[in-house]
């Protein structure tokens, strides 16, 4: 359950309009059977699990050593030439290990770059903003970007990152303005942003269309990192659309390019669990990832699968592992959304406190539905209803937001709205996963 909630956060919204159109069909067949489709084939991916290699991480360490030696060799300088690549190496080390300290190393280097660079303060500023976004420090990212944008800067590049930050902060009009300034249907950077925008508007068809266009550009350029980015994102979007086979294919394509890609492996694990109900195989994948990539969220998926198997003690064990990993990992605000979910039942006060911080940090519908959940669990039904009415209803079609809205409406006795939302949510079986799907059925 917990992970499916998280999964929603990840996998984003869904096509509201399609739901409406297909409601009648959905209603007639939604509760008929426990579906289990077969998409995966162990032979496709097993080869990627057994690898003990950590090539991406090792290469990044080699780069880190090279650039830091170069800095040491010119200790009388501010080393702006080495700062960027060194910070990049740390960021890659973080991406491939989940160790937050590397992200902090990169942050400090980018700050030095901003301070010391004669002509490229804006380049370092964009990199630092990117780093802040990874750390969920959105307001700081916005602040430095806006200041840089006002000053001497490469406008187009800065507009792209400003779009990203505005979306995180729920400043959708500003985000749209930034996006339109760079409108160019043959620009990868524009296409991935207009895809995100389409998804935000609930237009999954266009989101997919634009990501596919971006994917075509990545392919035409034969650019490995852009291909990986496109394939994994496309896999997720196909997942939202219920195109499980297509999603699976994208994850496999990613692994062909990057056999260590944890994100693609996790995507396949989700297919195994949600579509095929094969938690054993899914756990096998997660265990193989966890050897090198110790990121807390995998424990949540394990906890959810244990819950699915009615192994409640085990589920609790993994939930605690998640909490420990977050607490020990020095992740700052990065896992707040997850923590609200986790604490909602057992420590509602704490959940509410984190939710308030999170809304302060990013005033988006995705934060507000969590606040509403926390309010609900603290027996503040009316406040919860107000939160949903003012900040969530009609503003997002993300399944998790819809589910929490339904809980709030139910607690406030609005059965009509509960029924509407329930019918929409029943369409998202793959995306929500079996544990949550059951709860939706019971709404």
């Amino acid at each position: 359950m917990l992970f499916s909630i998280i999964y929603q956060l990840t996998m984003k919204r869904y096509n509201y309009y399609i739901f409406i159109l297909t409601l009648i069909v959905a209603a007639s067949c939604a509760e008929t059977e426990e579906k289990s489709v077969q998409v995966t084939n162990k032979q496709d991916y097993m080869g990627y699990l057994s690898t003990n290699k950590t090539t991406n991480f090792d290469n990044a360490v080699t780069e880190k050593d090279f650039w830091s030696n170069k800095m040491d060799a010119t200790s009388d300088t501010t080393s702006v030439g080495s700062l960027g690549p060194l910070a990049g190496a740390y960021s890659t080390m973080f991406d491939n290990s989940g160790t937050a300290a590397y992200l902090c190393n990169a942050e400090n280097l980018y700050k030095k770059g901003i301070e010391n660079s004669a002509h490229n303060k804006d380049g370092f500023t964009r990199s630092l903003a990117h780093n802040y976004i990874s750390q969920h420090r959105f307001k700081e990212a916005k602040e430095i970007l806006e200041e840089s944008y006002e000053g001497i800067s490469n406008k187009r590049a800065t507009e792209h990152v400003l779009f990203d930050v505005y979306m995180e902060l729920g400043q959708y009009e500003d985000a749209y303005r930034m996006m339109e300034l760079g409108k160019n249907n043959s620009d990868f950077n524009y296409l991935i942003r207009v895809a995100k925008w389409s998804d935000f508007k609930g237009d999954l068809d266009n989101a997919i269309k634009y990501i596919e266009k971006a994917r075509d550009i990545a392919n035409a350029r034969d650019n490995k990192s852009l291909k990986i980015w496109s394939y994994t994102n496309l896999g997720d979007y196909y997942g939202h659309a219920g195109r499980i086979q297509d999603a699976y294919n994208e994850y496999l394509k990613t692994l062909q390019l990057d056999p260590e890609n944890a994100y693609a492996k996790k995507g396949i694990a989700w297919i195994l669990y949600s579509a095929e109900k094969d938690t054993e195989a899914a756990n096998q994948i997660l265990d193989s990832i966890l050897v090198h990539h110790k990121v807390p969220e995998y424990y949540l998926l394990k906890a959810e699968m244990a819950e699915y198997n009615n192994a409640n003690a085990e589920s609790e064990k993994y939930t605690n592992k998640f909490l420990n990993a977050v607490n020990e990992g020095n992740y700052g605000a990065m896992y707040n959304a997850y923590l609200i979910e986790v604490y909602a039942d057992e420590n509602p006060e704490k959940a509410l406190q984190i939710a308030k911080t999170e809304v302060e940090n990013r005033a988006t519908p995705e934060s507000y539905h969590l606040l509403a959940l926390a309010q609900l669990k603290n027996n503040l039904q009316q406040e919860a209803l107000q939160t949903i009415s003012n900040h969530v209803e009609g503003k997002t079609s993300e399944p998790m937001a819809l589910y929490h809205s339904a809980l709030v409406y139910k607690a406030n006795g609005d059965t009509e709205k509960v029924e509407t939302l329930k019918n929409e949510l029943l369409e998202a079986e793959f995306e929500v996963g079996p544990v949550l799907f059951k709860k939706i059925q019971d709404l």
């Binding site: 004669a118 001497i152 406008k155």
Partner: protein, 236 residues
């Protein structure tokens, strides 16, 4: 070019105006009468994916597509223009997407940027910035003319006859090309900061003042004796 090339090429021409090319695999067709499908019978048969290619035959040729419009993202003539003058909005946002013959607007920015470098050093030396300025350089170019050359004529001049060099103090040849060995940094610094007397350059003595006419770096152990492509393989 072989059969595959021709057939695909012609087929494409027939269908579309998009011009394409293929990389050829090098099997020749022959005129033998054949019963069994083979990889050189000039027909697509058996498990072939194209005429005499694919399946159990050699992989099919790749169709090369060179169609489309390509739009400028970067441009370079002389070394360092962006680097030296890249600290302004206008250069950051439009220099690389402008054409060489359309850069009149950049000249005043270049001149101001250059003058600003002098001001920084004047102030650090407690001198009046008004008194520490660019001086007509060894080419005899004053500030407006020099920055006009940099902004509006940003190309390497390349002489087909005679020595090609960015500047060779030994022979006096200048502005006839750019060699791999040319110390374009020092030359550029001299042109900006050195003033007009090659024998007595400004900012040349770290004992008495700022050193601004050399970065103190030479070509090191780079090998300039190589035949085409003239550059050595990579640093390992």
């Amino acid at each position: 070019m072989k059969t595959i090339y021709k057939s695909i090429f012609i087929a494409l021409l027939a269908v579309t105006t998009t011009l394409t090319f293929v990389q050829c695999s090098d099997d020749d067709d022959n005129g033998n009468a054949i019963n069994e499908p083979t990889c050189n019978d000039g027909m697509m048969n058996g498990d072939e994916e194209g005429v005499d290619c694919g399946g159990t035959c050699e992989p099919c040729a790749v169709v090369l597509d060179f169609s489309g419009t390509y739009v400028q993202e970067d441009i370079m003539g002389r070394p360092g223009i962006n680097t030296v003058f890249g600290g302004t909005n206008m250069v950051k946002n439009s220099f690389n997407t402008s054409i060489v013959s359309g850069r009149m607007n950049f000249q005043p920015i270049f001149e101001a940027t250059m003058e600003n470098y002098f001001d920084v050093y004047a102030m650090s030396l407690d001198l009046d910035p008004e008194l520490v300025n660019y001086e007509t350089n060894i080419l005899g170019l004053d500030a407006p003319t020099f920055t006009t050359v940099l902004a509006e004529f940003d190309a390497l001049q390349v002489a087909p006859d005679g020595e090609t060099t960015y500047f060779n103090p030994a022979t006096g040849a200048a502005l006839t090309g750019r060699n791999l060995a040319d110390d374009v940094i020092d030359i550029s610094l001299i042109l900006i900061f050195g003033g007009g007397d090659l024998e007595n350059l400004n900012f040349s003595d770290p004992e008495t003042g700022p050193l601004l006419i050399t970065d103190g770096v030479g070509a090191g152990d780079r090998d300039f004796s190589l035949a085409f492509p003239y550059m050595s393989t990579v640093n390992q």
